[in-house]
Assembly symmetry: C2
Homo-oligomer: 464 residues x 2
């Protein structure tokens, strides 16, 4: 099945073939993580931890349940979430005195504790993150990784002395995601979300959107500047050096299992998923090509090769009693970047055949020095996968001058900056307004809606 023809069906089928998730669990939108899918997710967890640990964030873990009393303190926030949270109302056979929310996100769980932890300017900045399940009572059609009810979620929460310090944090977050998304081979566009679409409780929100082959965009990370909106509600205050009490300024940074969905969608092909080497639980699979009478020699050589590569690469040897063709199919469906075949002819020459998942290219390489060759191939694949996806995304951007001209992909237009015109873009085209480019582009011409002089550039796309 080719993904251009029926993206939705292709997407579901490659996830099933790769055994990432099983969606037959008896609650819609809550798919079981199978071992291979969970291994991919853990690689992404690890990448997040490396980047956030290296920038002075510390990992915590907050309770899942939030008392209704805390949850309802910030008015915009509760309005944004109350229609799609799960409520725990009973413990055992009895109703609870205070209902509990399954966290949809953790502001209202964390900030009452921030109020206890932060006393003086010396306690700032406070930079924490957690990797947890969050829950949304999703009433729209669910789709594995992309729109689900239990979400594997990454959330960093910070508190700072001043707005400027919080702004610096947003800059750091953007840099972190530059590095992360290179590791995931996912290009993206950073937009400042329109005011009418910012996170409930935020001063402003930034979104990172990638492009899926269906022509729709997918939000894969968000960055919110809260100013002191939450700190005023949860009383997150510090004493400054002059002894005055001030409210902290806060930010958040969020990412989710959608990253896996985006990788599947952007890089997969008719044979299955294709994993970036940084994310692949298995980077190299060794398939011994056994021939009658030579089984033992080849098995031994394959195992020796496995041993020699193991310390430098994530390598697996497939010794199952199956035909080589079945094994090729199995590992291609799972997106393993490189396959190493070792047969009697190769053995005689001291060589192996290396097959690259992204393009099917085969080459014979000497066993001597193989680890280094494989490593540089993986580095190159990593760069090429990102570059190809980035080109596809850039090529999809169309500058339009009339609302009738919107196309699949990302539409770029001029805007006067007024909310009513921004809303009109969404209403008249059926697209989602992504917002204005965070890395400012000069506006020119006239507003696509009202014809007044443009003040800004606006992006719109069909979005998941």
């Amino acid at each position: 099945m080719r993904k251009e023809e029926d993206f939705s069906e292709w997407y579901g089928s490659v996830i099933e073939k790769a055994e990432l998730r099983d969606k037959r669990y008896p609650i819609k939108g809550m798919d079981v993580w199978l071992p291979y899918g969970w291994a991919v997710m853990k690689r992404i967890d690890q990448a997040w931890r490396e980047e956030f640990d290296a920038t002075g964030h510390r990992e915590v873990n907050f309770p899942l349940l939030i008392p209704e009393t805390e949850f309802k303190k910030e008015a915009d926030h509760v309005k944004g979430f109350e229609s799609d949270v799960y409520w725990v109302t009973h413990g055992g056979l009895n109703p609870l005195d205070v209902k509990l929310v399954l966290r949809p996100t953790s502001e209202t769980a964390m900030y009452p504790m921030f109020a206890l932890w932060i006393r003086s300017h010396a306690d700032l900045p406070l930079k924490l993150y957690q990797i947890v399940s969050t829950f949304r009572y999703e009433t729209k059609m669910t789709r594995t990784f992309l729109r689900v009810r239990e979400i594997h979620f990454f959330e960093a929460h910070t508190a700072h002395a001043t707005f400027e310090d919080a702004e610096q944090q947003v800059q750091e977050d953007l840099q972190i995601h530059e590095r992360l998304m290179r590791r995931f081979c996912l290009p993206y566009l950073t937009s400042k979300r329109p005011d009418w679409d910012k996170f409930p409780g935020a001063s402003y929100s930034l979104g990172a959107d990638t492009l899926l082959p269906s022509g729709r965009t997918l939000q894969i990370a968000t960055f919110h500047q809260y100013r002191d909106n939450f700190s005023k509600v949860y009383d997150v205050k510090y004493e400054d050096p002059s002894g005055e009490h001030r409210y902290a300024h806060q930010t958040t940074d969020g990412m989710s299992e959608r990253i896996v969905g985006a990788i599947v969608a952007v890089h997969g092909d008719e044979k299955g998923i294709v994993l970036p080497p940084e994310v692949a639980p298995v980077q190299v699979v060794i398939v011994p090509i056994l021939e009658k009478g030579r089984q033992e020699d080849i098995s031994r050589a394959a195992r020796e090769l496995f041993q020699s590569l193991q310390s430098q690469l994530r390598v697996h040897i497939d010794e199952r009693d199956l035909r080589p063709g079945e094994k090729f199919y199995h590992w291609e469906a799972r997106g393993v970047p490189l396959r190493v075949e070792l047969g009697p002819k190769d053995l005689a020459k001291g060589e192996v055949v290396v097959v690259q998942r992204t393009n099917g290219e085969k080459r014979s390489l000497a066993v001597l020095g193989l680890a280094a060759r494989l490593k540089s191939m993986l580095e190159l694949i990593q760069v090429e996968m990102f570059a190809r996806a980035e080109k596809a995304m850039k090529d999809s951007v169309t500058a339009i001058a009339r609302l009738e001209d919107t196309r699949d992909g990302i539409n770029k237009m001029s805007w006067c900056g007024r909310e009513e015109c921004g809303l009109a873009v969404g209403e008249r085209t059926g697209m989602n307004v992504l917002g204005t480019p965070y890395y400012r582009e000069a506006a020119s011409g006239k507003c696509i809606v009202c014809g007044e002089p443009a003040k800004d550039v606006l992006y719109a796309a069909k979005a998941y």
Copy 2:
């Protein structure tokens, strides 16, 4: 505060001082994991993963929520849990059609999927595990790590062709925990739980109990043989080589965050917690002893030392602007096994002072070859900590011949094997019957209750 005098207060205070958890979260029994506590927990996660991955288990991740319809299928199981599960009854503003349980354990989430995954004998054994939060609506007094409402939980679930294969799995589990508990420096007694106290739905249950300094035992791992009790309810069947359909035999293996509580309780002292080197997020902390005029030299030497140790040990350098004494206090409270002090006199001699957390012993060691020396010291500490705790536990076992003679610690008695006598032991002594020794001991004498000839040994203790 000394732990022998008031164990409960001591226990709470050292957890607070070490900054493992914060129990001021507004739901009782749901404490926030602070960065250091979470780092300890992650070390334990890692140890579990290593042992279970190495024995052919694969990690999965199942949804948190279980539909009431699945949850209620196994009668004993639901009877055992229905009075202490949390119920999700509403999504957004509307009641759900089917109520959902927050998993108290995952049999009823997993086994409907096992029924889909297992078709033939070639699919067996199926050996899976997950590390997740489970929930109990605990109505008794809660206590950090030991009795909580959100539990960091480890659960392995397996399915086998025959009862004998499942028995082999229980053996493997016992061996895995032999290795794990050595890493955690926790000795334990393995008991076959009495029939009236087995896991709801199990054929039999084994429990591993360690001894806390309060004289009470704490269950730190469990192993359940389910036979085909669950597979009959959830229709987990396979086709055997002769084409017949048979029910699978199942086992589980469970462990929880109680391990952290046990480590705190067993090894801590008046200065704070003491971590086994295998579990310590920081194994060695370097404290430069700065002296006026020599700050730069010492700082540089301390950083060089840090660099040189970093690849071989989990090492931290404390460069905060605090007096050395404050730093000593800080890291002692956190149980870091070794402290390395580097001052001007040491620097001149090419030495450092190494202080061991378990006994406060100081020794001067040459910087040359330090990494190897520290590593062997850590190995020795690991062995000594286990041995000391094991001795304390063994010393606490008292053989008693009359029910009036029970003491703190573990009481060992003779038993006729009849349930009514076993229950009487619990009722008349106020102790918990732990069960019969899994590694059988010869019974002798008369039943402590009825005076009939003894058939078995019975252990009882006050338990958490």
